[in-house]
């Protein structure tokens, strides 16, 4: 059965070692019939891009739980463009900045960095998976 709905590169960016959400996301994506390349915790931007190129991934899912997301995520979209996969979907979620967040501002900050979807802490996997299905339908529709 190769009815995979798509391929996702999954990882926790920067010096962040939060492994549990990452493992749950992998489990949830597989359950939802996606192919998952999990590059694990402490992943660099380069590792994300490399994995996406090697596997022809449809999306990159970046987690950041430790508050340094703002510094770690800058430039990821650029790196993708330089590598020729500029239109890949990039989602990010977690505790993205230090301190209690004004969510609107945080979301705007990361959207301006080129992320397609930005998720607050506590988002359940199903939410982002549904978004992904929708985004993929649209993008695949476009291609037809």
């Amino acid at each position: 059965m190769i009815s995979k709905k798509g391929t996702v590169v999954l990882g926790v960016i920067g010096a962040d070692v939060h492994a549990i959400g990452n493992q749950i996301l992998e489990y949830a994506l597989r359950e939802a019939d996606f192919k998952v390349i999990n590059i694990g915790v402490m992943a660099s931007q380069k590792e994300f891009v490399q994995a996406a190129i090697e596997t022809g991934a449809d999306a990159i899912w970046v987690s950041s739980l430790y508050g340094h997301g703002e510094m770690d995520c800058r430039g990821l979209r650029n790196k993708c463009c330089e590598a020729g996969i500029g239109d890949i979907l990039i989602y990010v979620g977690g505790n993205l900045v230090i301190g209690k967040q004004n969510w609107q501002e945080t979301e705007k900050l990361f959207k301006n960095m080129g992320f397609d979807r930005v998720y607050p802490p506590g988002t359940l996997p199903g939410v982002s998976i549904n978004d992904l299905l929708e985004d993929l339908k649209l993008s695949k529709g476009d291609k037809k």
């Binding site: 920067g14 010096a15 962040d16 070692v17 492994a19 549990i20 990452n22 493992q23 749950i24 489990y27 949830a28 694990g40 915790v41 402490m42 430790y66 508050g67 340094h68 703002e70 510094m71 505790n95 900045v97 230090i98 301190g99 209690k100 967040q101 802490p121 506590g122 359940l124």
Partner: protein, 483 residues
């Protein structure tokens, strides 16, 4: 195998120190003889060991927050606030994640951006970049003992700088700050790094300075069966005392089932004393640390207060020496200082109200205590066997063999075969014991407990239970029942 559980030779140690101190510019500020003098002149109430032993002797549970920001003055203000408004007994300095990975360049950038934006861009205090003098500003300003809390696999330089800076307690260990905190660092390496840290603490002790050491109890902080964290805590204690450490606080992260949590603190103390004694030591002070719920928190603050209170309750009833406190912002990231103080005050009120109360030892507490003891002894015996009698060698081989195995850990040196899940009363059991050296009696105990839950929930025992359990408390339950 190059590691051995052997006290580092003095000459070799002093030589290694020269190397370590060169690894970042601030290292040259460290003058250990001057640092010993600094400690000697410190008021008694700023020394962690004094407070811990007093609490232990008087059956008190002390409270300590987590806290650290990028800028020194802001960090001092934060600690002062937590001491005065939050009524903390003990204070921390939580180190940022770049420093934890020895990425001092990135930490420097974080300090710079924090100055520019006037908000902390780092999730902790970059002590190495600041160096000895700035650390002492903290110690001098704060009228309580301050502990270094971090998550650094190679904390040699951090220890040099913060201990010279006047901190009197240092968290971490070869396993607890590697397997849950790193991806590719070998145990051989971290055992050596932490033997160095322990040797340094022992060196201070030889010069009359009491510094406390605290292996990090909760590991990955989520559904860690007590025997797993106990094994790690005791192994790190054994390595530490070998290097001359005399004061050890052993930690445990709340699992949520009261009986299991009480039994865990009881058995941790009992087991640690036994193993330390078996190794021939009679001069080690062991205290215990209870970590309030380390897993996912409810976003709602009122519900978070309930989780904090429940942790405070378990810490008080288990008679732990200190409790590490969460804040009502836990689900949302690093708390404001007010939220941090709120968590402390909630905990303070519970601890005080329960100060004179206790629950008698019940049959189920004994059952839990005994199974934890049995499991821990099974693991530690096998570790020793694998190491041919050497704990350090045993640790490396035990991780290779999956005899030591930490659930949900990111390290590639962890086999990750065991799987925990809650039983029908919320106690954490093994859904999969992987390669743990358990006999059938222990395995059946866990299987039966989970079967009971499966029967109640009318579903198979599976990974879905684990997923449900991980989200349960943040959704307002302890056991992750199906809808």
């Amino acid at each position: 195998m190059q590691v051995k559980n052997k006290k580092i030779d003095k000459e070799l140690f002093l030589k290694e120190r020269q190397e370590v101190l060169k690894s970042w510019s601030t290292g040259k500020e460290v003058d250990i003889n001057e640092a010993v003098e600094f400690h000697k002149n410190m008021p008694e109430n700023k020394i962690m060991v004094n407070k811990l032993i007093d609490a232990k002797n008087n059956n008190k549970t002390l409270i300590q927050p987590r806290a650290g920001v990028a800028l020194v003055e802001a960090h001092i203000d934060l600690l002062k606030f937590l001491l005065e408004k939050g009524e903390a007994d003990l204070l921390p300095t939580t180190i940022d994640s770049y420093t934890r990975q020895n990425q001092y360049q990135e930490a420097e950038q974080g300090i710079k951006e924090s100055y520019e934006t006037r908000r902390s861009m780092l999730n902790g205090f970059p002590a190495v970049n600041y160096g000895v003098k700035e650390c002492r500003k903290i110690i001098e300003a704060i009228d309580a003992p301050v502990e270094v809390r971090h998550g650094t696999p190679d904390a040699r330089l951090l220890a040099e700088i913060t201990l010279a800076g006047g901190f009197t307690d240092f968290e971490g260990g070869a396993i607890s700050y590697n397997i849950p905190y790193a991806k590719k660092v070998s145990l051989e390496d971290t055992i050596q790094y932490w033997q160095y840290v322990d040797r340094l603490v022992g060196y201070y002790y030889e010069h009359g300075i009491k510094i406390n050491r605290e292996p990090f109890g909760p590991l990955t902080g989520t559904l860690v069966p007590p025997a797993i964290s106990h094994s790690v805590a005791i192994l790190e204690a054994l390595l530490a005392v070998k290097q001359g450490v005399k004061y050890v606080s052993l930690g445990y992260g709340q699992n949520g089932n009261l009986i299991q949590d009480i039994a865990a603190i009881q058995s941790l103390k009992e087991l640690a004393e036994k193993y330390i004694c078996d190794e021939g030591y009679d001069d080690i002070e062991i205290t215990t640390v209870f970590h309030q719920w380390m897993g996912g928190f409810p976003q709602d603050e009122a519900k978070a207060f309930a989780v904090i209170s429940w942790g405070a309750t378990a810490s008080a009833l288990s008679k732990a020496t200190k409790v590490i406190v969460k804040s009502p912002h836990e689900a949302l990231g690093i708390p404001t200082k007010e939220a941090n103080a709120s968590g402390l005050k909630t905990t303070r009120q519970i601890i005080n109200m329960l100060r004179d109360q206790s629950i008698e030892q019940t049959k189920n507490m004994d059952i839990e205590r005994e199974i934890i003891i049995e499991e821990t002894i099974a693991i530690l015996s096998k570790v020793k066997e694998l190491g041919d009698g050497d704990w350090a060698v045993g640790i490396v081989r035990a991780f290779e063999a999956g005899v030591l195995d930490i659930p949900f850990a990111p390290s590639q040196y962890n086999s990750g075969k065991i799987l925990p899940a809650r039983d029908n009363k919320g106690a954490v059991r093994f859904l999969n014991t992987g390669n743990l050296p358990f006999d059938n009696k222990i395995k059946d105990f866990h299987a039966d407990k989970l079967k009971e839950r499966g029967f109640y929930e009318e579903r198979d025992v599976s990974f879905q239970m684990v997923v449900d359990d991980i989200y349960a408390i943040s959704k307002g339950m302890l056991v992750g029942r199906p809808k």
